[in-house]
């Protein structure tokens, strides 16, 4: 490409950084508001003199709302969903990427269709199914952690299979063949050779599932009703109806619930962004 003049380049650099800064402003506003005094916000005092920053709101979240109960539930539910979904995806993706078998194409097609028709449309039948299983067979899925975990694993596994498959395809087949010739079984080659090599893919997939699970409000809202199992999004939503104008508390809750996904994202960032860039993850 033709090289622009230094002046034009400097202007473009400035423009780029200005846009980056502008797009971060709402997040900065959330953090700032979470530290501000309730009455200041309620009076509409925006950034006048006497900005009174404090950590009070975060303490109040703990005492008044038991927000950290929701936090714990989210961690347990999303953590378990991530582990189980990634495990299922690793197995299925390996089969799809490496082994030839009857029905493989049909399975790939089924995965594509689940991507096209989101599970959200099935909330009524799922709700009824969970109810029936509880009433008739005593299988507690409605309003329970296991019910949500089961659902999340099922919902996020097809997309995870697709990401994982891309990583498996990229590993040279010769490595496995060599191991098999040396006397390894198929399973042995999978566990000893392929799995360690695909660690970046596993991290990317797990990061992806965790981000999705952490963001899930819809089913958590429909399928749970007691505080012992409700997740953060449900907690914040209940909280909106109870403390309608406590924006200070709401912003603190927002900041606290962004923290875990931020940590997970930064931990898996290198691999995750690569997976994203490879076009495997949908935006």
């Amino acid at each position: 490409m033709p090289k622009p003049s230094p002046r034009a380049r400097a202007l473009l650099d400035l423009l780029t950084w200005a846009i980056v800064g502008l797009s971060l402003l709402p997040i900065a506003w959330m953090l700032l508001s979470s530290l501000r005094n309730y009455s200041e916000i309620a009076n509409g005092a925006q950034l006048g003199a006497g900005l009174d920053l404090r950590w009070q709101n975060y303490r109040e979240l703990w005492i008044r709302v038991d927000f950290f109960g929701f936090f714990r539930n989210s961690l347990i539910i999303c953590g378990l969903s991530t582990l189980l979904s990634t495990a299922c995806a690793v197995c299925a993706a390996y089969a799809l990427a490496r082994l030839r078998f009857r029905g493989g194409n049909a399975f790939s097609l089924a995965i594509t269709v689940t991507q096209v028709i989101p599970g959200m449309l099935f909330f009524l039948p799922l709700y009824m199914l969970y109810r029936q299983l509880g009433e008739r067979y005593g299988l507690v899925l409605l309003d329970s952690m296991q019910g949500l975990v089961f659902l999340y694993v099922a919902l996020f596994t097809p997309a995870s299979i697709w990401i994982m498959r891309g990583f498996f395809v990229a590993i040279p087949r010769e490595l496995e063949d060599a191991a098999i010739i040396d006397g390894c079984s198929r399973l042995g080659a999978f566990v000893r050779i392929v799995l360690p090599l695909s660690a970046p893919g596993i991290i990317a997939t797990a990061t992806f599932v965790f981000l999705l699970a952490w963001d899930e409000l819809f089913f958590a809202w429909v399928l749970t009703s007691s505080a012992e199992v409700q997740t953060i999004p449900v907690g914040i939503r209940l909280f909106v109806s109870q403390f309608q104008h406590r924006y200070d508390l709401m912003m603190a809750a927002g900041a606290v619930s962004t923290l875990p996904v931020l940590l997970v994202f930064f931990a898996g960032q290198r691999y995750f962004v690569k997976g994203l860039a490879a076009g495997a993850v949908k935006g």
Partner: protein, 317 residues
């Protein structure tokens, strides 16, 4: 017989190993996708309300009556808001998808240069995408407030762009109140995907074009855009699917979601859940879900038919 030395022959009997590997995923998908599809279709043929819900298998069979009601019967509460919600959802999907892709592409071009702090800028830009969508809803719900919201403060008090403080969460403005945060949260991830695609384009065609005196804009139109077309088409399809089922943002921005977000911000999924659970019209709700599913399958089918050729030669497939 020297079996060990013989080359491996394909086995006649199917090897159980791949099926064992697929089993967990297969069972899950059968339980959470296939069963509810079949059950949901059956439910859509039943008269399911608060009276027949408990023993729903014994509910009266009404055939296609639920479909007739949600599509044509003005007396059905679910039908009442459906037209508006459909209009809003289609507009919202079109505006969000197209502008997020346009901004994402523009920024990808801007970021595809060498500039100080490039990697840092990319990481920072992804932050809005990391913030959970329900947090985005409550954050922007606060920012859009008429009296205490920062947006009116900036527009009215600081920049004097407007004389009066507008209501953002009531009336036609509420449409933009849900569009803008969605675009804000979506374009960075599209930028990243387009950036990766841009970096896979070789330099040669640009060098040749520059030698021939072709302008940068013409180079973009005739080299960059055609090469990015497959990626853009795939992302556009995913955007359309995602935005049609948008739920979190609206339900968080407008209070506890049991409320009505207004005639300009009510989308299909919030309407469907709200009405299903407030009137217990599960049969009609299932019918709406099925209509949506059918439309989506037709849309994606047509899309793939029209663009399959172009989408399959993705530069980094």
């Amino acid at each position: 017989m020297p079996r060990a030395a013989a080359p491996r022959l394909p086995r006649r009997r199917p090897d159980p190993f791949p099926y064992l590997l697929l089993l967990p995923a297969l069972l899950l998908m059968a339980a959470v996708n296939l069963t509810p599809i079949l059950q949901g279709f059956y439910m859509s043929l039943l008269k399911l309300n608060q009276f027949t819900l408990a023993q729903y298998l014994d509910a009266p069979f009404v055939g296609l009556d639920n479909y007739r009601r949600v599509l044509f019967d003005g007396a059905s509460p679910l039908r009442a808001g459906l037209g508006l919600a459909l209009r809003n959802t289609l507009l919202y999907t079109a505006v969000v998808s197209l502008s997020a892709i346009a901004i994402g592409l523009g920024m990808a071009l801007l970021m595809n240069r060498d500039f100080p702090g490039r990697n840092l800028a990319r990481t920072l830009l992804l932050l809005p995408w990391i913030v959970p969508s329900y947090v985005v809803g409550s954050l922007w719900g606060f920012m859009w407030q008429r009296d205490v919201g920062i947006i009116n403060t900036v527009l009215v008090d600081w920049l004097h762009l407007l004389d009066e403080r507008p209501f953002w969460l009531i009336g036609a403005n509420s449409f933009w109140a849900i569009v803008i945060p969605t675009v804000w949260r979506t374009w960075p991830v599209l930028m990243l995907i387009f950036l990766a695609a841009l970096q896979s384009i070789p330099e040669d065609p640009y060098e040749a074009a520059t030698l021939d005196g072709v302008s940068r804009w013409q180079q973009f139109l005739h080299i960059t855009l055609p090469l990015l077309k497959p990626v853009i088409l795939i992302q556009l399809m995913f955007q359309i699917i995602d935005n049609i089922y948008s739920y979190n943002l609206v339900s968080m921005m407008f209070g506890n979601g049991a409320g009505y977000p207004g005639e300009w911000a009510d989308l299909l999924m919030p309407l469907l859940t709200r009405q299903s659970f407030s009137y217990w019209l599960f049969g009609q709700g299932a019918a709406v879900s099925f209509v949506m599913m059918a439309l989506m399958l037709v849309f994606v089918g047509l899309w793939l038919r029209a663009f399959r050729q172009q989408m399959s030669d993705t530069p980094h497939a």
